[in-house]
């Protein structure tokens, strides 16, 4: 049977690639600290020795559009091209091609449908920075096969937070019920408080540092009850107009399991947004 060797939740900051590769006068003052934190975070995945990565993210109106918008979608293809012209333009992200793991994707689709999630699928999916950012930060070799899972945190009407948590729990069960003897890491990215295209964007910190502090506590402690008691589709408008991406963190709390304390917790207060990094080892920390 497959083993979940690591569960990882992270923000996906599209500027990391440019900041970490910039030199001289172009290198921002926070780059060295950021790189050090990312390298420590990367080590948590490397130590788990995964064979396959299940990658949870959200398309930012690249391939998925309002004429045909899925709530949850699984990519099932032998390869996934990655990153888009406007991400190259705005963030300097490189084009990539990642191998896919179709057998695990098929298992998740079949059994996810049977478990009550009407999952959409794609056989030709070009993924975006919600999935390539964690590849760049956590596995820059980009050598492991992936199963991308997209959620809609972007185009209302959205599924409610509880549904994201339930999908996370289900993904964990589905991976663990896959008969192949493979080591799987489940990695998902979202946001803490975030404002895009509104009056609170690009401030000295994220738009709501108090929300960010609470959110990191919920995730680090696996406090799903506390989180679900406060977070609703309506409440997520308050910390910033793009904060619904926090629901992907809630999905990952569902993967990790209620009450499960993260084995690695780190954060970095940047302009515009707070970065946060979490790793759980379901079978104990690797030596």
């Amino acid at each position: 049977m497959a083993t979940v060797v690591a569960v990882i939740a992270s923000t996906h900051h599209p500027f990391y690639y440019r900041a970490s590769t910039a030199t001289g006068a172009d290198r921002p003052p926070f780059a060295d600290e950021w790189v050090a934190k990312i390298e420590a975070f990367r080590e948590t995945l490397t130590k788990a020795r995964p064979d396959i990565l299940v990658m949870v993210g959200s398309d930012h109106f690249h391939q998925l559009w309002l004429d045909n918008m899925p709530q949850f979608l699984v990519g099932k293809a032998p390869y996934f091209d990655a990153n888009w012209y406007n991400e190259e333009r705005e963030f300097g992200l490189p084009r990539m091609t990642l191998p896919g793991e179709e057998r695990l994707a098929a298992h998740i689709l079949r059994n996810g449908l049977d478990a009550g999630f009407d999952l959409a699928f794609s056989n030709e999916l070009r993924i975006d920075h919600s999935i390539t950012c964690p590849i760049i930060t956590l596995r820059p070799e980009a050598d492991l096969p992936i199963v991308p899972i997209y959620t809609n945190i972007f185009a209302p009407p959205l599924p409610r937070p509880q549904r994201f948590v339930e999908l996370g729990r289900t993904i964990r069960r589905l991976v663990e019920s896959w008969p192949d003897d493979q080591r799987v890491a489940i990695i998902g990215t979202g946001h803490l408080s975030l404002e895009l295209g509104g009056p609170r964007q690009f401030g000295a910190h994220g738009p709501d540092p108090e929300f960010d502090r609470k959110a990191i506590e919920w995730i680090a402690r696996g406090d799903l009850d506390g989180c679900l008691a406060e977070v609703t589709l309506d409440s997520l408008h308050l910390p910033g107009n793009a904060t619904h991406g926090f629901m992907d963190f809630m999905l990952m709390m569902g993967v990790a399991g209620a009450g499960q304390k993260a084995d690695h917790v780190d954060s970095l207060d940047l302009f515009h947004t707070m970065e946060a990094y979490f790793t759980w080892y379901p079978n104990g920390a690797p030596a």
Binding site: N86, E90, A155, E195, P199, Q201, F202, H237
Partner: protein, 119 residues
């Protein structure tokens, strides 16, 4: 109000480098061409089939021609789409983050709840 069509305009312009430049240089002509040729194109279909009913209101057309991100926000155009396209068009004329900050400042008069963006 057709938030969907505003979003479709912003989406299709932003994803095409040539159209980003065309809209930056000649907004009125680009909006007119787009409404005539592109508004009814079904993006998720192979070519040959078109919709028959999509058109801007006068106010929407005017906001796009004026490249007025404050009005687009008030109308409920998706803020991510507007921001991404406007950065592509105008960041180059400003210092680092200067445009992004001015963009937010122009919206400072707004309070929660923001306009609905559901389509």
């Amino acid at each position: 109000m057709s938030r969907y069509l505003l979003d479709k305009f912003l989406f299709t312009i932003d994803r095409d480098p040539a159209l980003v430049e065309r809209y930056r240089e000649d907004a009125a002509a680009t909006v007119a061409w787009w409404e005539e040729e592109m508004a009814n194109r079904i993006l998720n279909c192979t070519s040959g089939e078109r919709s028959t009913w999509l058109a801007f209101t006068d106010e929407e057309r005017q906001a796009l021609v004026a490249q007025d991100h404050v009005t687009l926000f008030r109308m409920g155009a998706h803020p991510f789409l507007t921001l991404t396209l406007f950065i592509a068009m105008f960041e180059r004329d400003h210092g680092p983050l200067e445009y992004q900050k001015a963009y937010g400042k122009a919206l400072q008069h707004l309070t929660l709840p923001y306009p609905d963006i559901a389509t």
